[in-house]
């Protein structure tokens, strides 16, 4: 419970936040803190400076474009997203967020935090990969760039958002034919394997917990999803909750289930 010494900064703008992050390569952005603070309790990680993004309105808000495109501020909490009328344009978002952790965590945890921490057991990375989200990142110079999920998730706890950069926007195309399936540790607990699917012209299924980043497979139809997963040649990690073999098996089953959910929606 006892953190190492750390400096705390509460910037009043994204620009100031970027500046504080640039000052010290030991600085880390603090979003909801529902992962980072716990890692700091274990002293498994100890940033020199925490740059608190809470209260930066620039990073909040959910907008629904005329074409049905959703633009979500990364500091939006799960609870806010679940309650957002705009976000209902893509129902899967609220459905999946409601399964993340518990009320307390959902009240503080943020969409951006979930994505940027990219813990392999997180729900949102595979979901975003499946529905083809785009990520807008602002650099130290204030310049913005937008990357697709395939270029966003780089490794465990690693994304395209570099030191002294921030995720500023998550853009989600219109769509309704989505699905999500998971086997979790207890009801709605930590994911052992999860899979998100989206039918948008083609069928895209992204699988979580089986590699450092979500594994995306495409298939003609739900009937061919299992083959597609098998073809991906997964080598999932072993841990106390599942053998590599079991995870590989779940990947196929859950990918198909997510795909069928997606296909059945109209």
């Amino acid at each position: 419970m006892l953190l190492r010494d750390v400096e705390y900064a509460k910037p009043s703008s994204v620009a100031e936040a970027l500046a504080r992050l640039a000052e010290n390569d030991g600085a880390r952005a603090l979003a909801g803190g529902q992962t980072l603070i716990n890692v700091m309790k274990a002293r498994a990680a100890s940033p020199d400076v925490l740059v608190d993004l809470n209260g930066l309105e620039e990073l909040k808000g959910i907008e629904l474009g005329a074409d049905g495109t959703l633009s979500i501020g990364p500091m939006t909490t799960y609870t806010e997203l679940m309650g957002s009328a705009e976000a209902r344009a893509r129902p899967i978002l609220g459905e999946v967020c409601s399964k993340i952790a518990d009320v307390q965590v959902r009240n503080r945890g943020t969409i951006g935090g979930n994505l940027c921490s990219n813990d392999p057991t997180n729900h949102l990375p595979p979901l975003m990969a499946a529905i083809g989200a785009q990520f807008t990142i602002i650099g130290q110079d204030g310049g913005e760039r937008t990357v697709p999920a395939s270029d966003f998730f780089l490794g465990v706890y690693m994304t395209a958002v570099g030191q002294a950069e921030l995720l500023t926007r998550i853009t989600i195309p219109a769509g309704k034919q989505d699905g999500f399936a998971a086997v979790t540790l207890g009801v709605d607990g930590t994911c052992i394997v999860n899979a998100a699917a989206s039918m948008n012209g083609s069928l895209r299924v992204a699988i979580g917990c089986v590699d450092a980043v979500p594994v995306l497979v495409e298939a003609e139809s739900p009937d061919t999803v299992r083959e597609a997963v098998r073809a991906a040649g997964l080598q999932p990690p072993d841990d106390v909750h599942a053998s590599s073999e079991y995870r590989a098996h779940l990947a196929e089953v859950l990918a198909e289930r997510a795909a069928r959910q997606a296909a059945e929606k109209r």
Binding site: R43, T190, Y246
Partner: protein, 801 residues
């Protein structure tokens, strides 16, 4: 569930059997409880342990020089200092286990990940932890032994050179005539290996203490949440080379115990030594990860080469098995687990020929110690598994096999093959109640419905005993040299100067509602209102209301605690009458009665002496009373259960006084593709004799059930081959939360114990039934024999492949 309205509680009707609301709740619902971490003292320092990162290693050097210079760091304690300041803890075992040298910090060698190596005390919690990181400990890693089944291999690394090998204790238990049983058998069912996994109850509050040392008196005051101060005292006194008068234990509210808070004595010794060394109060908080890595795991046990002698019709004649018990790195309460199971040797069945070769070994894992259902849970899981495996092998109905072999109501009290006396109960009738609750007759329909949804349904029974009130004489079956036997508990009931009825217990409740049930007994006897009875919260050895076995453990308060309360209150009632007969000018005591908060003459209620007057007379206005009155209105009673010392040669005798009974039935639905399963229905029927407060009893049944569900589905202390704990916190050690709970139906019977003053039986540990029931349900659903007590989804999936 019924709602309990306070007005139900009134004088003049029996309070015994009333679900009166708990006295404890008022403070606890307002956040006004006093838990150990809430206790603070001026100038106290916070203690943090440097813990071993290795499962097995020599300590080559320890350097604390860096931290002692830091401002705000008060000081440190190392194993070397401990080894000079204290003697090794007393060992319950004889040779070889008894030869190990157990100190409160690692000396020269570490034997499990998380073992305390150095303690540092500082001005703040954070600084203490910072300092612990600057203490340099050099290790020379050694190979670790993690799987108990390899602990006795010739090439196995040895934890304790003093013991020569990893064998800690072994004993052969044989009763009846095995040869005859197997000769008579139509079938011999063989079971290669069954495994009961390692877990514990993870009380939400971890261990802790605030220890003050008084230089003037040389006495330590230990504010702690240890649930068995009597045991801690006899461990600590000799080790610290002091009399028990120097160790004052104080507890108040305890955030759950379940047996897991019995063996914190090593950490308490460290706090004592440091409070003396630094001359300031020392506060220790055990964090969750510390607890998981180092505290009180439940006994992990294998049952190997089991053979069961049965008749074609399912009549059980006897069994033999080899039990291999994993004690972890130290014997902190062990090897008592090597005999505690014998309290329920035949389970609930009538077989008379039994042999158990019991072996306990040390491994490089956290030390085990009592966990709810201590040692009996493992054995009862074994007997229940045997029943369901036999039923499957003989293609018989598990219900029929149970009913055919259950000990019969008409045979109560029943003497088991090893001399234990099962006091009362009707197991078969309880099973019928449970099957009724679960809708046994419509099970085939439910199966078909599940299949139509692509699920596999299975139903299983778990029937267990909760043996309560130990005869500590059983320790002599482990080590004949030991001088422990019987049991006792103390209560003091006094009438104070303004008529306050003050009750002092020797127990250390952790949620069992002792303040409430004790009040019920006192108010019943004194015929007064519950509100007039004041039970002191917690335990304080200064109150002189405790004895050697005082504490709250092993399902016994309803027997030992309440019998002590009854004894003391009966004494007080007699003294009140004796005093009144004098005050009323020689009215015989038979003519007096207690009523409405006083004592009066039965056929002249006008002649009434309120308790207040009684208290005032004896305590403050006693001139002129007869010299030989002999009334103090301060009555201390020690309850001592009727026990004999067991026959050490035959390992025969009555090991516990009462046997509460639990029959649970679980229904599971398995997703055959993933192994994921839900418990879709659950029934728990309990019989613990006379219930003083049915609601509290039912609460215990529910809590134990939930822990069983967690244990069988999710909870496990799993280690990798190097001895790293893979489930060191609630992230990976998943305990059931609100969404995980199945629907629950509860039922009960009351078969009063003929052996206890109130007809009560100890209870609260019967949850093991849930583990058995779910294992049996999984076996039913998958058609595969379940050989492990822990069945997470991946194991169920593997079963079905």
């Amino acid at each position: 569930m019924t709602t309990i309205a306070p007005e139900k509680v009134e004088v003049g009707r029996s309070l015994l059997g009333e679900s009166v609301p708990r006295k404890e709740d008022r403070r606890l619902t307002q956040g006004q409880g006093v838990f150990v971490d809430d206790v603070k003292r001026h100038g106290m320092g916070y203690l943090h342990f440097v813990r071993s990162p290795y499962a097995h290693a020599h300590i080559t050097s320890i350097d604390v020089s860096k931290v002692e210079k830091i401002k705000g760091v008060y000081g440190t304690l190392t194993g070397e200092e401990v080894a000079t300041l204290t003697d090794p803890f007393f060992q319950i075992a004889g040779a070889p286990g008894g030869q190990i040298k157990d100190f409160s910090l690692a000396v020269g060698k570490v034997r499990f990940v998380g073992e305390p190596v150095v303690a540092v005390v500082a001005e703040t919690r954070e600084l203490a932890r910072d300092a612990s990181e600057l203490i340099e400990v050099e290790y020379e890693p050694l190979p670790a032994i993690v799987d108990a089944r390899n602990a006795l291999d010739a090439d196995a690394p040895v934890l304790h050179d003093d013991a020569g090998a990893n064998l800690m204790w072994e004993g052969v238990f044989e009763w009846g005539d095995l040869d005859q049983a197997f000769a008579e058998a139509d079938r011999v069912v063989k079971i290669d290996e069954l495994h009961f996994h390692r877990f514990n109850s993870t009380p939400l509050e971890c261990d802790g203490a605030l220890v003050e040392y008084n230089r003037g008196t040389g006495q330590w005051t230990i504010h702690t949440n240890n649930q068995f101060p009597g045991f801690a005292a006899i461990m600590m006194g000799p080790a610290m080379r002091c009399g028990l008068d120097k160790l004052r234990f104080v507890t108040q509210d305890i955030g759950g115990g379940f047996g897991n808070k019995i063996t914190s004595h090593p950490q308490l010794v460290v706090c004592c030594l440091l409070s003396r060394k630094l001359n300031r109060p020392v506060q220790w908080t055990e964090w969750r990860t510390d607890f998981h890595m180092s505290m009180s795991h439940g006994n992990e046990r294998w049952f190997q080469d089991t053979e069961v002698a049965v008749k074609e019709d399912g009549t059980l004649l006897g069994f033999r098995t080899k039990a291999l018990d994993d004690a972890g790195a130290w014997l902190r309460y062990e090897p008592l687990g090597g005999v505690i199971w014998a309290q329920v040797t035949p389970g609930m069945y009538r077989w008379r020929h039994i042999r158990v070769d019991f072996t306990q070994v040390a491994t490089n894992k956290a030390p085990v110690s009592p966990n709810r259902g201590y040692s009996r849970m493992q054995h009862l899981w074994f007997t229940e598994r045997v029943i369901d495996i036999v039923a499957r092998e003989l293609e018989l109905d598990p219900v029929e096999v149970r009913k055919r072999n259950y000990i019969r109501a008409e045979d109560m009290p029943y003497e088991t093959p090893n001399g234990c006396i099962y006091d009362s109960g009707d197991y078969a009738q309880m099973l019928d109640i449970a099957l009724d609750l679960i809708g046994w007759d419509s099970m085939d329909e439910k199966r078909r419905d599940a299949e139509s949804r692509g699920k596999r349904l299975g139903v299983g029974i778990g029937s267990t005993l909760d043996s309560g009130t130990n005869n500590f004489g059983q320790s002599q079956l482990i080590n004949p040299e030991l001088q422990f036997s019987g049991n006792n508990e103390v209560a003091t009931v006094k009438l104070d100067i303004f008529g306050e009825i003050v009750v002092t217990l020797g127990t250390t409740p952790q949620g069992q509602g002792h303040e409430t049930t004790a009040s019920q007994v006192v108010a019943e006897i004194l015929n007064c209102s519950l509100d007039d009875v004041h039970v002191r919260a917690g335990h304080d050895s200064y109150w002189n209301s405790h004895a050697g076995f005082s504490g709250t453990y092993a399902s016994q308060f309803a027997v030992t605690g309440l019998s002590a309360v009854k004894g003391a209150t009966d004494m007080l009632a007699a003294e009140i009458k004796k005093l009144a007969s004098v005050v009323f000018g020689g009215v015989p005591v038979e003519a007096l009665e207690l009523a409405e908060g006083g004592v009066r003459i039965k056929d002249n209620p006008e002649a009434f002496l309120p308790f207040m007057a009684c208290g005032a007379i004896i305590n403050a206005n006693n001139a002129g009373l007869p010299d030989d009155l002999g009334v103090t209105l301060n009555c201390r009673y020690v309850y001592r259960p009727p026990f004999q010392v067991p026959d050490v040669e035959r390992k025969f005798g009555n090991l516990t006084l009462t046997y509460a009974v639990q029959i649970h039935v679980a229904v599971v639905e398995i997703d055959p593709e993933t192994g994921y399963y839900d418990i879709v229905d659950y029934a728990a029927v309990d019989d613990c004799g006379k219930r003083i407060n049915p609601q509290i009893v039912e609460g215990q049944v529910m809590g134990a059930t939930a822990q069983a569900i967690g244990a069988v589905m999710h909870e496990v202390y799993e280690y990798d081959e190097d001895g790293n704990l893979l489930t060191p916190n609630f992230y990976d050690y998943h305990v059931p939360h609100a969404l995980d709970m199945p629907p629950l139906r509860t039922g009960s019977m009351e078969s009063p114990s003929p052996f206890t003053p109130l007809g009560t039986k100890g209870m609260g540990e019967g949850g093991g039934a849930g583990i058995h029931a779910v294992c049996a349900a999984i076996q039913d659903a998958t058609g595969k024999i379940v050989t492990d007590s822990h069945n997470p989804y991946h194991r169920v999936w593997e079963l079905m492949r």
